[in-house]
């Protein structure tokens, strides 16, 4: 791959603002939403008009990022565009990753599900086997935005936007998801739980981006669930989110339990005590009450326009229990 002017690799569509495709221009100027970020890089304005790149391979994308320290990758841009409109500095080059096949696919590989980082959320709900095996993950992805947003918004964007309230993250974490990351040194894989380091920040280097997620297919009598609380019924941001996954034994006792909470701390928090309380036991009211208390205790929430600390703590316990009950009902059904 030979570099051309401005360190841009050949074959990458790259142009001044006036040559940005009409559809993107329309989105940039008019729409309230469209795309999403896939890297941890912060953008910096450097005075000239934003350029646009649409690499078609991972290697090309790596080159574009290597060639411009002010590049910003995006998938659906459902966070990126609104942020630009709210005054976020424009990146030097906006890099659309949706033309890379591997980032927009969804496939079963042996005992794993592999979901491209830029795969639209709506696509997840269309995959019947995925819905059957990881219903909580699909539900969580389905909560990102409206129907229109769903055909753009992605797991990768939801994760890298690094909002504490991101719906898909607790669901990915309880399913022990791994993130595959591309960069100049090649590919690396880390737990989803290690991607976000704080509100708006990730552990990805500026020249790295997310490629795909890998989830283990669930063993028998295993299911997940994700619930969130919002003041309305849709079109809102989680005040509290709770993901749960559990495996039951033949007798209906918990064998494995995982609970993760969103919107109650700078990053997703696990409720490790849940396993200690529940493993080896059935889901009794008494045990769940203790789980609720543990869930409330691990929260480190803030007071803001969407809720108070006290409210978030209390409802985190409520939702953790409800998500566990839902996951257990599902697990019991899959075991029969």
């Amino acid at each position: 791959m030979t570099g051309t002017g401005k360190g841009v690799p050949a074959g990458v569509a790259l142009c001044s603002e006036t040559r940005v495709p009409a559809t993107l221009r329309a989105v940039l100027r008019g729409f309230d939403s469209a795309f999403v970020l896939l890297s941890g890089r912060g953008a910096t304005s450097f005075g000239c008009a934003m350029r646009y790149a649409a690499p078609t391979s991972i290697e090309e994308a790596v080159s574009v990022l290597a060639g411009d320290v002010h590049a910003q990758v995006y998938a659906g841009a459902t966070d990126f565009i609104p942020q630009l409109r709210m005054g976020r500095p424009e990146p030097g080059v906006a890099v659309d990753l949706k033309r890379i096949d591997r980032l927009t696919g969804l496939r079963r590989e042996g005992d794993s599900w592999v979901i491209g980082a830029a795969t639209p959320s709506a696509r997840l709900g269309e995959e019947e086997d995925l819905v059957a095996e990881l219903p909580g993950l699909v539900e969580a992805a389905a909560l990102i935005g409206s129907d229109q947003i769903q055909s753009r918004a992605s797991l990768g964007g939801n994760l890298c936007n690094a909002s504490p309230a991101a719906d898909s993250v607790p669901a990915m974490v309880v399913n022990n998801g791994r993130a595959v990351i591309a960069g100049p040194a090649g590919m690396r894989t880390i737990p989803v739980a290690s991607v976000v380091t704080g509100p708006g920040s990730t552990s990805l280097a500026a020249d790295e981006f997310l490629v795909e997620f890998v989830f283990d297919r669930p063993p028998p009598r295993t299911a997940d669930a994700y619930l969130r609380f919002i003041p309305r019924t849709e079109m809102d941001i989680a005040v509290v989110g709770a993901g749960a996954r559990l495996t039951l034994d033949e007798a209906g006792r918990c064998r494995e339990v995982s609970v993760a909470l969103g919107a109650v701390a700078p990053t997703v928090v696990m409720v490790p005590a849940a396993a200690g309380i529940l493993v080896g036991h059935p889901l009794t009211d008494e045990a769940l009450k203790r789980v609720a208390a543990e869930a409330s205790a691990v929260c480190n929430p803030i007071d803001d326009k969407r809720g108070t600390k006290a409210y978030r703590r209390q409802v985190a316990g409520v939702l953790a229990v409800r998500a566990l009950r839902l996951a257990a009902d599902r697990a019991a059904r899959t075991g029969s």
């Binding site: 003041p231 309305r232 019924t233 849709e234 809102d236 941001i237 326009k305 969407r306 409210y311 209390q314």
Partner: protein, 759 residues
């Protein structure tokens, strides 16, 4: 939905009135062809943008716009110095009165900015990007002052004073010094001490509500074009283009005739578009630049700088006898006015108990300025907050008396001949009928489950009449054009066409209802006060009757008979004795030249006799005791429409008012940070209900004809928003046992109350 209508009179045999034709403007609206405020683009047009204060309260020490003026692409910059300083003088009409002294300072700040978002300069440039860059280049030196938002704190002795020259009106003797209380309004009737002495049960409570926005979908948008002759053409959406003309001209120091306003379609207003914001600014920019200028507000600007309605603090006390008769009410209602006087506190006092016959009343309304945008009218301005308080207390009294809350309302219901709490004696009204309609509705007897509750509430709105003009042309093909000056904000084209079709006897689709510009039809007040179907309808009916008289005269001429022998039936002239073949409107129109020239007539009214509107509503909720979430399970609203001209649009108004009221009840509020900056200026965190938050809202149109209108019309646009907050609160009480007295009744507040109650 099982929409039903109950009528106290036998339905007259109307052919068109009361039917549900598809609206004339419907196709253009669903295809996107209709032109709204932001849709007009002119050759050479500049884009305007407004610089807004980042501070809630600050003195403007200096504005330096020289760098902005020198920037490439910038064609004009204006500040307060480009507009005349107007003296105090009231203007406006209907339910929106304004002091031009305040309006000119609201549109462009002078020595002080009074709220975060207050406009203080504007630019016109060849692109929006250049315009925004130019705003950044305007240097403003501020002396930041302490600010106040809370209505109680604003009345405290040590409160920051917004207007150093404001002395409270309505207080005798006048206070010595300035305060933030602009006005004290009092209703004082009967003897409240005697009234409370007669009471067996007295309830008393304080209520707090937050400012809420009208939330219209379409932001304010204008294109202004000032020609070489100095005359301005202004294209914008508003609730009254004659208002835009007179306000814009006044703020520029011009005569109204120098401005022509062309009404765009309007994407919602709910009272919030009964004044001007960017219209005079775009016009002055256009005048300076010599080119058309367009300004379109962002949603952020709409929230930060245009009319919310007041947050309130209300304390009320109500007494009743054991047999359920109200004996006395007293209380005080303090309303946030925003940065300039003019809150609807007095209207709150008038409306809160208007549905009831009460002898002894003392209510005080306080109009309090605070550092937020000047409030604007919002659907029955002032009444919803006051009725939240009054109707919650009535529920509480009924409960203490062990009486059905509807029965309690019926025992105290005002009716024809009763002197209203606010003064006038009611003519024929349909309040009782709305209560009975709810009582008899199936929802009222559906059994409730665990954590579910049912609440009822009623509401009143005056409705207005006012000035309207209409012109009717019979076209050469016998069709009719009906021109009015009322922007169509709630289906009024269809209503005007239905009344014209009824009068003229021609098909509804042979009528073109047209909203004409300020030079093509006579003066017309704003679309507000639920006045258009009533008042503009009367002008249309009068004009049609003149046309029919003319058509009859022409037929008489053709037949060479006396006009008294000609009647107009189903769009045709008929000879009374029947020996002449009827002549259709089409035939008369085709030969108009031969019978005296074109067939046209105009009429104008200053309508009185707008019949009062009442609504009674029942709400079923389910409360999640673990999260505090309130789900609206079922909702029915019964409202007296007098006569429903187009029942679908009457139902739409009823449902729309309820939907907005539910939002007000549950989640909507302005949230400010400690610096007075609004934290939620967008629909994500300013939580209006989404469709899935609401059940289908069932409607019962009650028809008790208004004696002040030829068809009995009462305005229907506003009263529907008055009862919902109390209906929801009363339902939450029924479900949980909790009396919530603060809005919004958000999940956080409900869960706090459950927790405080030991739940």
């Amino acid at each position: 939905m099982t929409a039903t209508a109950t009528t106290t009179d036998p339905q007259p045999s109307y052919k068109w009135v009361g039917t549900r034709p598809v609206r004339h403007d419907g196709l253009d609206k669903v295809t996107g062809r209709a032109r709204y405020g932001a849709d007009l683009n002119l050759p050479g047009m500049l884009i305007g943008a407004v610089l807004r204060s980042p501070h809630a309260h600050a003195r403007i020490l200096a504005i330096d716009n020289s760098a902005a003026e020198a920037m490439e692409g910038v064609r004009a910059v204006v500040t307060g110095a480009d507009f005349p300083m107007l003296e105090s003088e009231m203007g406006g009409s209907g339910e929106e009165f304004v002091d031009f002294r305040d309006l000119c300072r609201n549109v462009m700040a002078r020595d002080k900015v009074l709220y975060e978002g207050h406009a203080l300069a504007a630019v016109a440039a060849t692109s929006r990007r250049e315009a925004l860059a130019a705003l950044d280049a305007i240097k403003v030196d501020y002396e930041v002052l302490p600010h106040v938002l809370d209505v109680s704190l604003a009345m405290a002795p040590d409160a920051p004073i917004l207007h150093e020259d404001m002395i409270t009106e309505g207080v005798d003797p006048a206070p010595d010094g300035p305060s933030n209380v602009a006005d004290r309004y009092v209703i004082d009737r009967g003897d409240i001490e005697k009234g409370f002495a007669e009471a067996d049960v007295i309830v008393e409570r304080e209520f707090v509500t937050q400012p809420v926005h009208q939330g219209y979908i379409e932001p304010h948008a204008v294109v202004a074009d000032v020609g070489e002759d100095g005359k301005a053409t202004v294209f914008c959406s508003s609730q009254g283009h004659f208002m835009v003309r007179s306000f814009t001209a006044r703020l520029l120091g011009w005569e109204p005739s120098r401005v022509k306003v062309i009404p765009a379609e309007i994407g919602g207003g709910f009272g919030g578009k009964t004044t001007v914001y960017v219209e005079p600014v775009a016009t002055r920019l256009s005048q300076k630049a010599g080119r058309p200028v367009k300004i379109v507000m962002t949603r952020d600007e709409v929230f930060r700088a245009t009319g919310p309605t007041s947050g309130c603090k209300i304390s009320l006390k109500v007494g009743a006898t054991r047999d359920g008769r109200l004996t006395a009410v007293s209380g005080s209602m303090a309303y946030q006015a925003g940065a300039f006087k003019g809150s609807p506190a007095s209207l709150g006092c008038m409306c809160a108990f208007a549905p009831y016959a009460i002898e002894n009343v003392f209510l005080e309304g306080l109009d309090v300025v605070v550092n937020m945008p000047k409030v604007a009218a919002y659907r029955a301005p002032g009444a919803p907050m006051a009725s939240f308080a009054s109707e919650t207390l009535l529920d509480e009294i009924a409960e203490e008396l062990g009486m059905d809350p509807l029965e309690f309302r019926l025992r105290n219901a005002a009716e024809e001949g009763v002197r209203s709490v606010y003064g006038p004696i009611f003519k024929r009204i349909g309040f009782k009928e709305t209560v009975e309609a709810v009582r008899d509705h199936p929802q009222y007897s559906i059994e409730l489950g665990p954590n579910q509750g049912r609440g009822v509430a009623s509401g009143f709105w005056f409705n207005f009449g006012g000035s309207s003009s209409a012109t009717v042309h019979i076209n050469e093909d016998g069709s009719a054009s009906v021109l009015t000056g009322s922007p169509d904000i709630g289906g009024s084209r269809a209503s005007m066409a239905l009344m014209a079709a009824e009068e003229l006897g021609i098909d509804i689709y042979d009528i073109s209802p047209i909203v004409s510009d300020t030079e093509s039809v006579g003066f017309t007040d704003v679309t507000g006060g639920s006045r258009v179907t009533h008042a503009t309808g009367m002008a249309v009916i009068d004009a049609c009757r003149k046309v029919v008289a003319d058509l009859r005269a022409r037929a008489a001429k053709v037949w060479d008979v006396d006009v008294s022998e000609v009647e107009w039936v189903d769009g045709r002239a008929q000879h009374v004795s029947g020996d002449r073949a009827p002549i259709t409107a089409r035939d008369l129109a085709a030969d108009a030249a031969g019978t005296g020239g074109p067939i046209t007539a105009s009429a104008a009214v200053n309508a009185r006799g707008a019949g009062a509107a009442f609504s009674t509503q029942v709400c079923d909720v389910e409360v999640d005791p673990e999260t505090g979430a309130v789900k609206i399970l079922r909702y029915t609203t019964a409202q007296d429409a007098g006569r429903a001209i187009h029942p679908s649009y009457v139902e739409g108004q009823m449902q729309g008012g309820v939907a907005q009221g539910i939002g007000w009840a549950l989640n909507e509020e302005y949230i400010f940070d400690s610096g007075g900056t609004m934290e939620n200026p967008g629909f994500l965190d300013y939580r209006m209900p989404v469709a899935s938050d609401l059940p289908m809202i069932d409607t019962v149109i009650v028809e008790v004809p208004n004696p002040g209108h030829p068809y009995g019309v009462r305005g229907v646009g506003e009263v529907g928003i008055v009862p919902p907050m109390a209906a929801v609160a009363n339902a939450i009480h029924d479900a949980t046992g909790l009396r919530l007295s603060e809005l919004p009744m958000s999940p956080v507040k409900v869960l706090e109350a459950i927790g405080a109650n030991g739940g």
